[in-house]
């Protein structure tokens, strides 16, 4: 399943070194893309201006509670939350309710943020 760097739009396969270390362009945020949505997703990143990409990156880090300046790459699951432009969000609540939580720490430096998964019984 491909991952797309939000900053430069380049695609990487699962497990690619760039996802673990960050894209050579300096990007640390990746969209995790379902094959079915691949075409649609390609357009999202190419339509964004560099400033918009920065804003989205910052917003995502804020949303998932990761502190600024973090070096760790983050993968955002497009299935359940889409950021079309800064300040414009689309949420697939059916998916959000259904899926299980979480931020997976896969290896040093790599986190897979599955927002729908961020849901479960954390507060108990």
């Amino acid at each position: 399943m491909p991952h797309q760097c939000v900053r430069c739009g380049k695609f990487y396969d699962d497990g690619a070194e760039e996802i673990l270390k960050g894209c050579p362009c300096g990007g640390r945020l990746f969209f995790y893309i379902n094959k079915k949505k691949l075409e649609e997703s390609k357009n999202i990143v190419t339509d964004l201006t560099p400033q918009e990409k920065n804003e989205i990156e910052k917003d995502v880090f804020d949303l998932i509670g990761i502190e600024k300046g973090v070096e760790k790459p983050v993968v955002l699951d497009l299935e359940s939350i889409r950021i079309i432009k800064p300040g414009k969000y689309e949420l697939d609540i059916v998916n959000l309710f259904r899926k299980r939580p979480l931020i997976y720490k896969l290896e040093e430096g790599k986190y897979l943020i599955d927002l729908p998964e961020s849901f479960k019984k954390e507060e108990k």
Partner: protein, 210 residues
């Protein structure tokens, strides 16, 4: 014998107290349906103080708000719960909608981000609820994805539900439409703002909480 009796009484009251203390009553629903207005109404009626800020702009509540130890009484029945007011659940959050209320772009984008996080938090908290009051705007079409998803998920989790069709003071409101959308639930038409039918709401709450 006396000891056993004493122990029984102690544990009975201890359990009763513990059970009551941990009841979490959640207010869920789409944005701007009147969740916080209802929370304020409940708190003003039983605690003499309000709970949260209310405005016409959607997504005013963007963080979970909790009011602990709310006791409500009816005759010789009493329930005690922690009232949890949640951010409205939406499928689309667009900062430009907030700009229509005169907010500048920077503030509107910040609000959109907070509202998105609020939706996620609301869903995350659902599993902690013992009983949920789903607050719907009776002037709007009840057959929305948000309403159906919330109620369907509550059903799947076997969480008791009371549906409130709010804003019955408005002419456009249609309680019957809400009732026919969710026929298997107890639907109470109220105006949280003006207090219309609020006693029926409390009665409904007693029935649901048991």
């Amino acid at each position: 014998m006396v000891n056993i009796f004493e122990k029984f009484i102690k544990s009975f009251f201890k359990n009763l107290f513990r059970r009551k203390k941990h009841i979490k009553l959640g207010l869920y629903g789409p944005p701007n349906a009147g969740k916080t207005t209802l929370a304020n109404r409940i708190c003003e009626d039983w605690l003499g103080e309000s709970m949260g800020k209310v405005t016409n702009m959607p997504h005013e509540t963007r963080e979970i708000q909790i009011k602990e130890q709310v006791n409500i009484k009816s005759g010789n029945k009493e329930i005690s719960f922690n009232l949890v007011d949640t951010p409205g659940i939406a499928t689309k959050i667009d900062y430009e909608d907030f700009m229509k209320f005169g907010m500048n772009a920077t503030k509107a984008k910040k609000r959109a981000k907070e509202a998105t996080k609020g939706v996620i938090d609301s869903i995350r908290w659902l599993d902690n609820m013992d009983t949920v009051v789903v607050v719907l705007d009776a002037t709007k079409d009840p057959y929305s994805q948000v309403n159906i998803t919330i109620i369907g998920n509550l059903e799947a989790r076997k969480i008791p539900v009371l549906i409130v069709a709010n804003k019955v003071d408005l002419k456009k409101s249609k309680i019957k439409k809400v009732q026919s959308a969710f026929p298997q639930y107890h639907v109470v038409g109220i105006s949280a703002k003006y207090g219309n039918n609020i006693d029926e709401f409390y009665q409904g709450l007693f029935k649901v909480v048991g």
